[in-house]
Symmetry: C2
Subunit: 439 residues, 2 copies
């Protein structure tokens, strides 16, 4: 019998226990080793409200570097004189992140770019019939010739070079693969796929990336606009298909309604690859970076922003509140603590439940039986039907109810209880690896 | 030779010419025949800021009905007394949309629901191990038994019934398929898949829906939370896989940062199925409906909201502006006119290009050669390097430049030119079917 190895049931690994982890069938997946190219200072400069002076650009670049982005992309040095000077200044900061600048596929631009001190140059040219006809008016042969000339020139200077098509999803597939194959052969560092008009869908992205991955050996970078609200999902699916780098900007600012947002992508990625994301990026800095950029471009953080939107971790319905109080993982995979945020139970409303109210009763240090809590909850829901409630309303109802009881047992009022804020059930001792418990 | 049929090249259909149209390989796709269940008055009521009185609920329900949603879902009538009365009141409005209410999988709730006058009841129960342990504490046998009882009761009243699991993506697949098969057999109208914690990704959604589609014969409804920014993409991918109905809410309001937003999903769907979407839904009403709800729940429309965000149709970089002026389809698949919106070229900034400035020169009815426009553009970019520009700045520079020319040719100033607003290149005569021209 000893010629047979004993077969034992293997303990499932943490990864296989994460229902949101990378799909094992995606053997080219980079979900657990992606890189970020932050383009707040390039794409973001194309946002309607953006005007960054040098000081602000440097402040943003330093914040992004501290957060841990791999690359910082800057506006073309030929866009204006100031753009050139700012580019040089940021290259001189000695940041850990590599500095890129983004230029047209033209030697005039390339010659200026390589003298700025950047670590790499991102070259782009429109390849869709639309852009070829209405933008630069060149055919694919011309594009290939320019690309080779620019790439070889940049490479000769010893810096990184990326070649990207523009409007890739409306470009002819054969044209695309041809040009990417050509530039890959001459040693480009990355090729880029861009959904310039923001209309690609996830499975379409996956198909194109998987196909491209079979044609080139270099890394693939992706750039997704958000016109149809799919920029985060497309980025994730691109990584599943084998793309390695994702272009992001803070709050997604860019042309029109922008691109894949840094914060939103972090929410997406921490669910799939928690260890990688938490070890590589300073997630608790997201809020500060978003506030910095929001202030600079004079917008408010959207109410529904992933992670930092005011209600991202607020639970309201009674049935949700009950379960969250028993175990936060029931209705929450994102752990607010990972982002330096807190969880709130919104109990001052007519959809509240007795579990949430019981929690508040405990926080107020009052003693009520479950039946009594249910009774006072009914009173609260009744008033909630008539008008919006605030915390003081609820506390008053609870306290009045408590006083009216025949034998009130006051354990001693806790002056620390915060009456102005929703119930905060933040638990410092919460278990670390929530995802691994998920199944 | 006449035994052979002549082979002719067929003209590609409009559909195959749309690079963003449904994937022909998705033979179960409902991308071109989906339905909307608006849950602003149920899921939306669970949004932190929501308090809708009866008048507001009726106003919202009427607006949604006018827009063309297929179903309107209301808060459970057992949530509070007012919820019950409001539910009855909305059922009595005689709207075209079918009215649903959303209850726990329990006879106590079902008995109340069927007496309200609703057209259908949406039943939900948590099936993940997490919810079974920390929420209702029941096992799958109990769930199946309750489900059958509630479904048969609701059906006996002659109204529609949907059975949904909660937290479907963290539920055991075999458990899920078992319960869905059971309820399908006894004639449920729809089964629902819910990404309650907002962490599913598009290809995961596709797999689950395709699998479920092979198990049940009834329609599939999907409900996606937006914690990781994928709610629109997941909805689209679910339709590709064979789901038929999508839960939405205005601006996506709901628990935490909400669910698939109505407006964002319309942006996604019009790209894929323009004829269906335009013929079925009053897209130009989206802005009004969003404003109505935003005001009611006291939030601002996010700056980057699809369609109605202030910059959704604003083009800034010179290279973009040039192409947009030549043909809007170059950088824009969504046609702002479809939504009653307008397109703007943002030309008062240092990233501007001479094509955008030339357009402004024409609008000001001044005569400059291309070389002169390039010269004045350089002046504008120079000032744009120093400080943010407004339209008046640009107009002043252009006019000063024009006056300084040796022989100015003033064609007559057009007093109608709007100096306060960005350049609006809205063209009423723009071709209707842009998508069909896309390749």
């Amino acid at each position: 019998m000893d010629q047979y190895q004993q077969v034992t049931e293997t303990t499932p690994t943490v990864e296989s226990a994460n229902p949101y982890g990378p799909n094992p069938a995606d053997f080219l997946s980079n979900v657990k080793e992606f890189q970020l190219i932050d383009s707040t200072l390039r794409e973001g400069e194309q946002f309607a409200n953006a005007f960054f002076d040098r000081e602000k650009k440097i402040e943003i670049a330093k914040a992004l570097d501290d957060f841990g982005v791999d690359y910082i992309e800057l506006t073309s040095p030929v866009a204006s004189e100031q753009s050139l000077e700012d580019c040089k200044a940021i290259c001189n900061l000695g940041l850990k992140a590599k500095i890129l600048t983004h230029i047209r596929c033209h030697m005039d631009d390339a010659r200026v770019a390589v003298e700025t001190g950047v670590d790499g140059v991102d070259v782009v040219i429109g390849t869709s019939k639309f852009l070829r006809q209405y933008s630069h008016g060149k055919d694919m042969n011309y594009i290939a010739k320019s690309a080779v000339e620019v790439i070889e020139f940049v490479k000769s200077k010893g810096i990184e070079i990326r070649f990207s098509s523009e409007d890739s999803f409306r470009s002819d597939l054969v044209d695309l693969l041809n040009i990417y194959k050509t530039v890959d052969k001459i040693g480009v560092n990355r090729v880029g796929i861009a959904d310039t008009v923001g209309c690609a869908n996830p499975r379409q992205v996956y198909e194109l990336i998987r196909t491209l991955k079979s044609v080139v050996s270099c890394d693939i970078e992706c750039h997704f606009h958000n016109d149809t609200g799919c920029a985060i999902a497309n980025a994730y699916t691109a990584l599943e298909g084998g793309a390695k780098l994702i272009d992001v900007s803070v709050l997604g600012i860019g042309e029109r309604n922008g691109i894949t947002p840094l914060g939103g992508l972090m929410a997406r990625m921490i669910v799939a690859a928690p260890d990688y994301v938490k070890s590589k990026y300073k997630l608790h800095k997201i809020r500060d970076i978003e506030n910095l950029v929001a202030e600079a471009v004079e917008v408010n953080i959207p109410f529904n922003n992933p992670i930092t939107g005011f209600c991202a971790f607020t639970h309201k319905a009674g049935i949700h509140a009950k379960a969250i109080l028993a175990n936060p993982s029931t209705y929450e995979i994102l752990d607010p603590h990972d982002f330096g945020m807190k969880r709130y139970i919104h109990f001052a409303n007519r959809l509240t439940g007795w579990n949430a109210i019981k929690s508040r009763v405990d926080q107020l240090n009052l003693n009520l039986t479950d039946d009594q809590v249910k009774e006072v909850t009914a009173k609260i829901k009744k008033l909630g039907d008539v008008r919006p409630l605030n915390i003081d309303d609820v506390d008053s109802i609870i306290k009045d109810f408590h006083q009216d009881l025949a034998t009130p047992i006051l354990k001693g009022k806790d002056d620390q209880a915060d009456k102005e804020e929703p119930l905060n059930i933040d638990e410092p001792a919460r278990k670390k690896s929530k995802l691994s418990e998920s199944i």
